[in-house]
């Protein structure tokens, strides 16, 4: 990207993860945020990505079945003694 070029919406959507990861260089980050100020579509897109991450995070890991954890814990106990 050259300094004076503005981002298109199609370019911005490909930078969303780099932006959220804090991996964009300062000038790119500035251009990204500048674009957002003027663009509802991209603002919504970024919000959708943030929501997607949040919803994905709600898929909590399942726990081991009680039987399996009891077996494991007793294996550990016998190991220690």
């Amino acid at each position: 990207m050259t300094q004076d070029q503005t981002l298109t919406c199609q370019e911005l959507v490909e930078l969303v993860t780099a932006y959220l990861e804090g991996d964009l260089a300062a000038p790119d980050r500035a251009r990204f945020e500048e674009h957002l100020v003027a663009c509802d579509g991209c603002t919504n897109y970024l919000e959708q990505m943030r929501t997607t991450i949040r919803v994905t995070g709600m898929l909590t890991p399942e726990s081991l079945s009680e039987e399996a954890s009891t077996e494991l814990l007793s294996a550990f106990r016998s190991w220690r003694t």
């Binding site: 997607t52 994905t56 890991p61 399942e62 077996e71």
Partner: protein, 194 residues
């Protein structure tokens, strides 16, 4: 205790490779026993967490027999990031000759009005789960570790032995596809009569 802290994550990751939950549980148990037996030989070259999860994935792959030849994660990552892929269907953007070239033609709507209980409903979550299940292997692993298990990008890179760039590209592709699935699902819901 380590077993309680890591087992749920291990179960989820083992499940990516095994045909059933029962087999995944077996793999988790076997892994812990292998960890105990091998603890003397653990040399601290990687973190304990990385070491445990490596044992887990090796065992899960063997049990799942999904791959006859074991392909290293780094090679799979190269393969999955090789071709170009777009986060959003190009038809949603304007063309070169339109008023705003490569600007939105059909812009995404805000989800701020979507009620929280619908967003986090069992049905929505199962759609997300489904979308993740359909991802190529490395994208599925990366999004699972990062966004469900909460690993840092550095931990994921070390564990899978992939570059920062590949990790980010895989995460980007995975999240973009899950977003698309959510968008389609929420739009469908909207159309249905209340």
């Amino acid at each position: 205790m380590l077993v309680e802290r890591y087992s749920p994550s291990m179960l989820r990751i083992a499940s990516l490779y095994t045909p059933s939950r029962a087999v995944a549980e077996d793999v988790v148990q076997e892994t812990w026993l292998a960890v105990l037996q091998g603890l003397d030989r653990f040399e601290g070259r990687s973190s304990l967490k990385t070491w445990i999860f490596r044992i887990l994935t090796n065992r899960a792959k063997t049990r799942g027999q999904r791959e006859r030849r074991s392909i290293p994660f780094s090679a799979l990552a190269d393969r999955e990031t090789d071709s170009s892929e777009q986060a959003v269907d190009p038809s949603r953007f304007q063309g070169d000759d339109d008023r705003s070239p490569h600007g939105w033609a059909s812009p995404p709507t805000s989800w701020e009005e979507v009620p929280e209980d619908r967003l986090l409903s069992t049905e929505t979550l199962s759609k997300v789960d489904e979308a993740i299940a359909q991802l190529p292997e490395m994208q599925r692993l990366v999004i699972t570790l990062r966004d469900i298990e909460g690993w840092s990008s550095q931990e994921v890179c070390n564990f899978l032995d992939i570059t920062e760039t590949n990790q980010r590209v895989l995460l980007h592709r995975a999240r973009s596809k899950v977003r698309k699935a959510l968008e389609e699902y929420l739009a469908e819901e909207e159309k249905a009569p209340a």
